[in-house]
Symmetry: C2
Subunit: 191 residues, 2 copies
Amino acid sequence: MSAVFKQHVRKLVDVSEEELTAILPFFETLTPAKKTNLLEEGKVCKYDYFVVKGCLRLFFVNNKGVEKTIQFAIENWWIADYTSLQLQIPSEFYIQAVEKSEVLAISVSDRETMLARYPKMERYFRLVHQKAHAAAQYRTRYQGDYSKEELYLHFSRSFPEFVQRVPQHLLASYLGLTPEYLSELRARRIS
Amino acid sequence: MSAVFKQHVRKLVDVSEEELTAILPFFETLTPAKKTNLLEEGKVCKYDYFVVKGCLRLFFVNNKGVEKTIQFAIENWWIADYTSLQLQIPSEFYIQAVEKSEVLAISVSDRETMLARYPKMERYFRLVHQKAHAAAQYRTRYQGDYSKEELYLHFSRSFPEFVQRVPQHLLASYLGLTPEYLSELRARRIS
């Protein structure tokens, strides 16, 4: 399991096998079953999660009681409520396993200890967050520019495996479509 | 001018006056006049910008020719198209001075040299991007939950100085409201 994480770190920073082996014990390994909540609204987000296998999602329940997914994390992605994590205040989000997953979890205090001992990992996390920040900019751009249909087409062209894998009602929630409209779009593309 | 930047770095990381003095020459100082473009669509984003004084905005022109603002940066905020900056590919955004501003600009190659020499700054940028990533999560949450009116009220309660300062048509564009609806909301609050 740790091989996936080691490879991801090595892709971004120059770190030795010995250092990686010393870094790994800062993480706990979790194997949440499908639909397990790793974070719930009103609780403090205690861990930053790295997906080794499977898929997690970050969602909130809106004032009409409807779940709205705002982020997915598949292999090699990190996910947390970073406001709640950093400030240790209650979260307004849920984090849930979309499918049975394998996850590395690091608490905010273990992360601090690890970063103090292995400052190279600051660069790793800087690149991870910079990439997430960059993705959020383009997501906002496309949501403000594209029609619902164009948004779906753009997304399915950019992330084809993802569209195959994520349950359609969650994908619809992420893209801001009704599940009915999404299946209409998919049917139209296939025909 | 550099005092603002030094203070911001010191707030986030433990760095000496000597180190800060050695870091500053990696930046260029710019003083764009109101409406100056620091980045244009189709060009590569060459600099990461720190606002010392004034206000910059990141926007795109949608397929109907309308400008849509997706981020503002006032004092102590960084702004760039981080996809274009990191990959050195053409941008789909503009960055423009909302008012006459004072800005520190660092090129991607100077930033790399600086980070290699002063690895503490990796932590600084990690915290900056983590905060931006966190803000994007909550922005998406509120946009998916609040009515247009609630969105404006939430924003004006959270960032009162900001609402006073940014031209109303730009604020409307950022919040996804028409300028007419925004002035109606403001009038209703005042009365």
